[in-house]
């Protein structure tokens, strides 16, 4: 936003004069070149999207209306909305939905707030700016599987580092250690920690780039009027980087609701996909995997995928709306 606002005035360059009419046999090429070539150039994205994005979504919708069981090839044909009806009464689905939202809130809210603070810090004059900026991005570069496996050990019941740290500050008794995987709250915190760790730096850099385009005089004026750093952050920085805020909120909503790797690998037996002995932290994406590839019920899994798709649309929409309101934005 601010970029376009401060864009340099466009110079009044005269329209290039059209070249003399080319010979007829070159005309078609000329017209093709000017009218069609741009589409050819952007087509790879749309072709790829059609093959790997659009087609699966539509195909998924078709499968959701059918019976398709891998372990029972004879059970075939249209199911109508039976899969969706089953979904409404499936307590596993609602449990997974609750878990997904719980972990989503525990991860998204602190993640974006901390990212904002970090960006604010990085926006000041620091020694070794590049070092810090690359540093916060390191978790983002680490493969999820690798970091999650480390976290799984970190949060293990016996000899886990998390329990050791808690015991240092007197919250935990090493002879009766906390079993992080036993309860909803503890497993949610553990998984949210992994997500936060990975994405804070990435979001911070996005915020930082937006912050750097805010003109300094606005801050100077605010400082003259007696606004402290905290007030400057909320009254100036946040409203002025609002488009980026909306972008990150939407992105992390999508990511949070599709959470899969972390809960999957947090499990002691990653192949089980139950999300704990009582599905304490089973997310919807995990449940879809389990229904599809463990129970071999692809039709029902497809119905769940579509339900998840709709939920994400709604949540991302609400979040974008709320964030827009946050800065009193006009868009």
């Amino acid at each position: 936003m601010s970029l376009t606002r401060n864009a340099p005035p466009v110079l009044d360059i005269p329209e290039p004069r059209p070249p003399a009419t080319p010979p007829k046999h070159k005309l078609w090429f000329y017209r093709f070149d000017t009218k069609r070539t741009p589409y050819v150039f952007i087509s790879p994205f749309f072709l790829l999207f059609a093959v790997f994005g659009l087609f699966p979504i539509i195909f998924n919708g078709v499968v959701a209306l059918r019976n398709w069981r891998l372990d029972d090839p004879d059970l075939d044909g249209w199911a109508g909305f039976a899969n969706f009806e089953r979904l409404v009464h499936d307590e596993d689905f609602w449990n997974a939905l609750g878990n997904t939202f719980g972990i989503f809130i525990l991860s998204t809210v602190p993640q974006l707030l901390i990212a904002l603070m970090v960006a604010n810090l990085l926006n000041r004059k620091l020694r070794g700016t590049t070092f810090w900026r690359v540093g916060v991005l390191l978790p983002y570069v680490t493969p999820v599987a690798a970091s999650t496996l480390v976290f799984a050990v970190f949060f293990s019941r016996d000899n886990g580092m998390a329990n050791w740290l808690l015991s240092l500050v007197g919250f935990n008794d090493m002879s009766n250690p906390l079993d992080w995987r036993a309860y909803k709250w503890s497993s949610w915190i553990a998984i949210a920690t992994m997500v936060n760790w990975k994405w804070i730096g990435y979001n911070a850099l996005l915020y930082l780039s937006a912050m750097q385009s805010i003109p300094k005089d606005v801050y100077e004026a605010a400082a003259v009027d007696g606004a402290g750093p905290w007030r400057q952050l909320w009254r100036i920085t946040v409203p002025m980087i609002q488009p980026v805020l909306v972008f990150t909120v939407v992105l992390s909503s999508i990511g949070g609701l599709q959470l899969f790797n972390e809960p999957m690998l947090f499990e002691e037996n990653p192949a089980a996909a139950t999300g704990g002995s009582d599905s304490q932290w089973q997310t919807i994406a995990q449940l879809i995997y389990k229904v599809g590839w463990k129970d071999l019920d692809l039709g029902y899994a497809a119905a769940m995928s579509w339900a998840l798709f709709l939920i994400i649309l709604i949540v991302a929409g609400i979040n974008a709306f709320l964030t827009n309101r946050l800065g009193g934005g006009r868009r």
Partner: protein, 427 residues
Amino acid sequence: MTRFGRRGWALVAAGLAGALTISGCSGQSLEGGNDKAAEGQITLKVNFWGDMGLDKLKAAYEKDHPNIKIVLNSGEYNAQHEDLQKKLVAGSGAPDISAVDEGFIVQFRGQSDKFVNLLDKGAGSYESKYLPWKWQQSLSKDGQQIGLGTDVGGLAMCYRTDLFKAAGLPTDRDQVSKLWTTWDDFINVGKQYVQKTKKKFVDSGTNMFNPVLAQQPQGFYNEQEQLQMEGGPKVAFDVSMKAIQAGLSANLASFQPNWDQGFKKDQFAVLACPAWMLGHIQDTAPEQKGKWDIATIPGGGGNWGGSWWTIPKQGKNADEAYKFVEWMIQPQQQIEVFKTVGNLPSQPALYKDPAVLDYKKEFMSNAPTGQIFASTAENLKPQYLGKKNGPTRVAVENVITRVQQGSLSPDKAWPEAVKQAEKAANS
């Protein structure tokens, strides 16, 4: 600015497309190259889990058959079976040879049209060599043989002599066997051990549940595929609850990293062990050589696990695959596997073979593993394991884990177990 951005994106997209095409092509050509590397070269892919003692066999077979290359692919137990199921339905991608465990054989023999009927390849001549029940278990209803047996589990109780000694318990395997003729005795011994050492006795309640269930005449399902929770499962569940309430369990999920660590940190002193478990113990805790021994299991014999080699029909090298399978089940190779990892052959003639009968497992304090396991395997009446046996077992194990974690009270556990088992049965 914006105009340039768009152009930039188009470039990125085009580049991406190019990259994808290129990598796609190279992937293809690589695979093609593998298939027809040298003239007449045949690659046999073998899927299994854990350690089946195949490394030496592979080298020996490849040496004698220069045109055969064997690719061993060991994975997680459940994942390998699920993967096979997916590939069978998809119609491609299955390995040339796949191991199938007892827990899944009913599921796969019901799809005998997707496997090579080994009787067509001349496997009929081996029928008389196998334990009759082992031969029957992989036979489909219409009489097709989908697999040739590798091993049977048998059941015994492994224990740590050094930890027993420290707790003032006997260490001699005959004396230890006398300590526990019933599971109640076993739990009492456990209580003594826990009181004395302040350490846990068994690795997990689920590893009490599984062997006790294996000893019952009927498992989760009857032969009409109906769930029968009040029979065998109830008995086994009660034993595991008793053990958990007595504080014997270290609550470690079997075959997972923490369990492996539990071996090394002496977190448990006994482990229900079928013959195939010996290989796992010595792979996990090689430094505990001579600290383990084997006693009989409370409640008499039983069988837990044991596998077959199957040849999915979609493979292109069925003849070569069968030759390799046939070679693997010959006495010499079976004895070799028995010696390296401990898996007990499923051909009773071998139980009389001096190589098995007189074999003493050095790792297990020179226990005569051949004698111990053979005696449990020979007079066995195997359970019928239903099509949904695998998922049902996981569901009940999860309930046991919840009790161990303290999030479910033992008196509410049984109804919950029934509920979860029914859910698994109907999923």
